[in-house]
């Protein structure tokens, strides 16, 4: 029984390491930041979760099980935050070439928001704003 659980935990750790390797491959192969974010967030979260499950199955104590559960919960909570912030920063910095994007809904939405009369936004035609305004 313990030998089977050791083997299963080793397989989970291997799956987790392979997910991190997939994220590393994406760093090499994708052309821009938004593409790299695909595999830095999704398979990497799954890899950390798989490694946590592998540790919980290999070291069969209650402490390991609770740490694994908390690790999984926090990884699921924090990974989308990092992805959203980095993607937002990349898009607003203008480092994403528009030829890599098939559809750009965000540009259409921002144009539509610009065209709407509103006291708080500058009139359309202005590209830059005072540096303190990041709240859009």
């Amino acid at each position: 029984m313990t030998a089977v659980l050791d083997l299963v935990s080793a397989l989970f750790v291997l799956v987790g390491a392979f997910m991190c390797f997939a994220a590393a491959v994406s760093l090499v192969r994708y052309p821009d930041v938004l593409g790299k974010l695909h595999a830095i967030t999704k398979p990497q979260s799954l890899g950390v979760m798989a490694i946590a499950i592998g540790v919980a199955l290999g070291v069969r104590t209650w402490w390991a099980l609770s740490v694994a559960i908390i690790t999984i919960v926090f990884q699921l909570l924090t990974s989308p935050v990092a992805a959203n912030m980095v993607a937002r920063g990349a898009y607003r910095s203008g480092i994403v070439p528009s030829r890599n994007l098939n559809v750009d809904h965000l540009a259409e939405d921002l144009d539509e928001a610009d065209a709407r009369p509103d006291r708080l936004t500058p009139p359309p035609g202005g590209n830059s704003e005072p540096s303190g305004d990041h709240t859009r």
Binding site: A3, D6, L7, S9, A10, V13, L14, G16, A17, F18, C20, F21, A23, A24, L27, V28, V33, K36, L37, I40, Q44, G47, V48, I51, A52, G54, V55, G58, V59, W63, A64, V67, T71, F74, Q75, T78, S79, V81, A82, M85, V86, R88, G89, A90, Y91, R92, S93, G94, I95, V96, P97, S98, D104, A107, E108, L110, N127, S128, E129, D133
Partner: protein, 103 residues
């Protein structure tokens, strides 16, 4: 620990080492600061995986506090770099407009 389990863990360690080297190369090369922040995020995940691998191999659970804390706060590196390094001018391309990254 049988030979099969040791071989599987050795393969996992090899994959994690290659991932770490690729992440460091991206931190060194990356044409923008956000590429470097993504590379550091991957480095944090590799460290989480490595400590988990060590805990499985050595059958000890005293070090697994490290993956726990890294998964809690490991994202703050990427978030703070993205927050502070993005350009201060609010610039966005209009529909159909070519932006700076185009060649």
């Amino acid at each position: 620990m049988t030979v099969v389990v040791n071989a599987i863990l050795l393969l996992a360690a090899l994959l994690l080492t290659i991932s770490a080297l690729v992440a460091i190369q991206r931190i060194a090369v990356g044409p923008s600061q956000l590429d470097r922040s993504i590379g550091s995020d991957l480095m944090v995940a590799v460290v989480i995986g490595s400590v988990g691998l060590w805990a499985t191999w050595a059958d000890q659970d005293t070090e697994i506090v490290i993956p726990l804390l890294l998964s809690m706060v490991g994202f703050t590196g990427a978030v703070s770099i993205a927050r502070l390094v993005s350009e201060r001018v609010v610039y966005r391309p209009k529909s159909g407009e070519k932006i700076r990254g185009d060649r």
